[in-house]
């Protein structure tokens, strides 16, 4: 019985026990492979397909449940793998009810982390806001654009005590905007006022028309 096998991942060789998953071997080699669904010993159904790795022959396997029993080589960071992960992750986000301002998991959200890693846009600044929910600036009547602004800045303005001005551009997904504007109204803000503030940075931003369209729709509900 072989007691140790050599796994080569992105050129790095690690020695592991036979039956180790490629993901575990990669961790040992210090290589980060994105994943969402695997909980070792509980769920290894390879549903999220983000942890796919490639053999040199081009066959794809999920690293979370592919076990190595002999010396094998894998590629985990080729441009096409990252591209596939990005498209796949965007698909997942497409039907995710993004409502970071109201989400309990925002401080430990794998979707937010992955969206940064995969350079996927579309998650609001609220996901990065350092303030606890009960200290949200909106509750204090301060007009913050965090709900409708693109994240990725690590919420620097909020960290330094100010509110969000949306300098990274608007969210363009209508369902998120719809929920955000509804929330603005629930908190007593005038939708026109929100748009007025947004105009400062977004007047010529490509997605601003969508924002205004949704805002008008929400405002028109009376």
């Amino acid at each position: 019985m072989i007691s140790v096998v050599k796994v080569k991942i992105d050129g790095k060789v690690v020695e592991v026990e036979p039956g180790t998953t490629v993901l575990e071997a990669a961790e040992k080699a210090g290589i980060e492979i994105p994943r969402l669904c695997v909980v070792p010993g509980l769920y290894e159904g390879s549903s999220c397909r983000l942890c796919l790795v490639k053999t040199p022959a081009g066959r794809l396997f999920p690293s979370c449940n592919y076990r190595v029993y002999r010396d094998e080589e894998f590629l985990a960071s080729t441009p096409d793998l990252w591209e596939m992960r990005r498209v796949n992750f965007e698909l997942l986000l497409k039907f995710h009810r993004i409502e970071c301002w109201a989400c309990e998991r925002k401080s430990s959200c794998s979707l937010v982390e992955l969206s940064k890693e995969l350079l996927v846009d579309g998650i609001p600044v609220c996901s990065e806001c350092p303030l606890p929910p009960n200290e949200c600036l909106l509750l204090k009547g301060e007009l913050c654009l965090g709900m409708i602004a693109q994240s990725g800045c690590n919420a620097e303005c909020l960290v330094s005590g100010g509110e969000c001005w949306g300098c990274r551009g608007p969210i363009t997904r209508e369902d998120i905007l719809e929920r955000a504007f509804t929330h603005y109204r629930e908190l007593g803000f005038d939708v026109k006022e929100v748009i007025g503030k947004a105009e400062i940075y977004w007047n010529s931003a490509p997605g601003f028309a969508t924002v205004k369209k949704v805002a008008e729709r929400v405002a028109g509900r009376g």
Binding site: L91, L92, F95
Partner: protein, 659 residues
């Protein structure tokens, strides 16, 4: 009950269910083998003739398969019963499966001693007394569809073609479907009389290793779609140390337009049972399962009946044919999800779990049903295996191409004159199948493309019809062999709409386990929907292609891995149609309702009022000239006026002309 071939001929026969004789099968046809008695030999000869012409010397065969039943075979059967009683005919009425020639359904086969066997096509119950009188009383076959042979005893024989000479029959190679439409699918005796179970008894004589060797030598590859060498699969499963092992017959045929497995199981179920028994013997399994789609109830019933019959005759159970091999089969009904045809999902379903596929490896050959080594084969593959064991590997290997041997059943549907299931050598060109066997497109229709391999297959354009049908060529062209369904698409179909149709199916059938398939197919569907509504953009096309590629490579199982094929293949061959929808907002085939308008040609209109009478939206009204006109603001584009107009004065316009 009279003596049948399956019974002992005399006291000297030592066969009994407790102590089966290894030569039992061989002895049925060429026996008796253990003793010499002219009377026993004569009994066999006589019984074989009875099977051919019925006990009374005349036989009427009514096909009873789903396809013939749908066209009224049951009513024909009752009409035959009544007519035989009324006319006082001495004839046996029996049932059979279907030839696969759906365009002659329901048919009737009449045979009598000294008469040529005649097939009558498209029989209506009211025709039955006339047909029976012509054949049995007047001995006139001039109105038959085809004869099986000419004997020169009936009038009109020269006027009727021989079945074997007809193009769609002569160009087929009836290997695995040889018994379809010929034997009674509910009679084990007829199966044995037609040469059945010789394969199993030969396998027992060769031993399991040599049986696998024989299958390897034949070059048989899985007929379910992927084309994995069957002998290899059996060998890997046999080599596994874990026990017990299992064999599963995949009869979960779910592709729209594919019915070869149903046809086979309804017409010749014992061949599948024999093949599964051989597979069990070869890999060392004692339990087999047949996983049948519940939506094909007759198929399930026939298989269940065949299993019971084989068990009763000692061909399933303990110590089969004295070989010391025990084997039994359970027929399992699927819950009807398309994904159940995927082998790992099927295993989960048999285990009573939710039918979710799981990642391979481990392959079922290593860890399958209940975590034990399991060989899963398509029913057509198993039927092939039984036939190969009976006829010898060389004969099978002599047919087909360099890489893929043998024959394959294909179902041709859609825009063809002769819808049906045809068995041809692998490597036959699509053109031969579509134009020569299925008769090509009906009058006035031009073939635009063929969709091969069901919803997971691809659309191949008409100019590539000369491609040979084999696994590698089809894959290279962007389609798959799949189970062998071929849908012929006429020029009046929009390819974007066709791609959307298949995605509607696959996105609904996605099990939802992995992201690319669950979400990707939905996203692709909505883009196609946008395009067919004339709202698509160039960017949408890019996204469509990108998502399709991701779904294809990242999905967990073959359902997701192949579902983008209709989109990718239409993008490859019919880009002009996508471009027309996006850039010019027109549907060249006049299908996508958002991009077309209905008009009435006043020159042609005969003012009959049919259109206005049938219009559900009351959008058509009489104008001053007495003719009719469509109010476009009210029109819901249902197309009823287009269908009902007796002079084809209603026409469709698209693009700029629809203004």
């Amino acid at each position: 009950m009279n003596w049948t071939l399956l019974d002992r001929c005399c006291e000297k026969c030592t066969h009994s269910p407790e102590k089966p004789c290894p030569d039992y099968i061989e002895c049925r046809l060429s026996g008796p083998l253990c003793h010499d008695d002219e009377r026993c030999r004569e009994m066999r000869r006589q019984r074989l003739e009875e099977l051919r012409y019925g006990e009374k010397g005349a036989k009427i065969k009514v096909p009873m398969a789903s396809c013939t039943l749908a066209t009224g075979a049951e009513a024909v059967y009752h009409a035959v019963e009544d007519a035989v009683k009324n006319m006082g005919l001495e004839a046996t009425i029996t049932i059979s499966g279907c030839h696969g020639l759906d365009f002659i359904d329901p048919w009737l086969e009449l045979s009598a001693k000294g008469m040529p066997t005649a097939i009558y096509a498209n029989v209506k119950p009211s025709d039955v007394p006339r047909i029976l009188e012509e054949y049995f009383v007047k001995r006139d076959v001039s109105r038959a569809f085809a004869l099986k042979e000419r004997v020169g005893a009936a009038s009109g024989e020269d006027k009727v073609p021989l079945l074997g000479e007809l193009g769609f029959w002569a160009k087929q190679y009836k290997w695995v479907s040889r018994n379809c439409g010929v034997v009674n699918p509910e009679s084990l005796e007829e199966y044995v009389a037609s040469g059945g179970y010789r394969g199993l008894s030969r396998a027992f004589k060769l031993g399991p290793e040599a049986t696998i060797e024989e299958i390897l030598k034949s070059g048989l590859r899985g007929r379910g779609g992927a084309g994995f060498p069957t002998g290899m699969k059996w060998r890997i499963t046999r080599q596994q140390k874990a026990t017990p092992k299992y064999v599963i017959a995949n009869a979960d045929e779910g592709d729209p337009g594919a019915f070869m497995n149903r046809l086979l199981a309804e017409s010749d179920p014992f061949r599948i049972i024999e093949g599964l028994t051989i597979a069990g013997y070869a890999i060392g399994a004692n339990q087999g399962y047949i996983f049948v789609r519940a939506e094909k109830p007759l198929m399930a019933k026939r298989l269940q009946k065949a299993v019971e019959e084989a068990r009763r005759c000692g061909l399933l159970g303990k110590n089969i044919l004295g070989s010391g091999f025990d084997f039994d089969i359970e027929v399992i009904l699927s819950a009807g999800a398309f994904v159940c045809g995927e082998e790992t999902a099927m295993i989960a379903a048999i285990e009573g779990k939710r039918a979710w596929p799981r990642q391979r490896p481990p392959y079922p050959a290593e860890k399958g049903l209940w975590g034990k080594p399991t060989a899963i084969n398509n029913v057509e593959t198993l039927a092939h295996a039984a036939t190969i064991m009976a006829e010898g590997a060389e004969k099978f290997a002599a047919i087909g191409t360099e890489k893929t041997k043998g024959t394959k059943m294909f179902c041709v549907t859609g825009a063809v004159k002769r819808v049906g299931a045809y068995e041809v050598p692998i490597g036959t060109s699509i053109r031969v199948l579509v134009e020569e066997l299925a008769g090509g497109a009906p009058e006035g229709v031009k073939v635009k493309a063929v969709q091969i391999g069901g919803p997971s297959g691809g659309c191949i354009p008409a100019n590539l019809l000369d491609l040979p049908l084999d696994y590698e060529t089809l894959q290279g062209a962007g389609a798959i062999m799949g189970s062998g369904g071929i849908v012929v698409i006429g020029h009046e179909n929009c390819m974007v709409d066709v791609a959307k149709f298949f995605l509607t199916f696959t996105s609904a059938e996605s099990c939802g386990k992995c992201i690319p398939c669950r979400v990707g197919l939905r996203v692709m569907w909505s883009i196609l929907d946008k395009i067919t509504k004339g709202e698509g953009t160039e960017e949408d096309l890019q996204v469509l292609r990108q998502v399709a590629e991701t779904v294809r490579s990242a999905s967990l199982c073959a359902l997701g891995g192949t579902a983008p094929n209709p989109v990718l293949s239409t993008l490859r061959y019919f880009m002009d149609e996508y471009a027309a929808h996006i850039r010019e907002k027109l549907c060249p085939a006049l299908v996508c309702s958002a991009l077309i308008k209905y008009r009435i040609d006043e020159e042609k209109c005969i003012a009959c009022g049919q259109c206005a009478m049938n219009c559900p939206a009351s959008a058509i009204s009489k104008i001053e000239s007495g003719k009719y006109r469509i109010d476009e603001s009210l029109c819901i584009k249902c197309g009823v006026c287009y269908t009902v107009c007796p002079v084809k004065a209603v026409y469709k316009v698209t693009g700029a002309r629809a203004g």
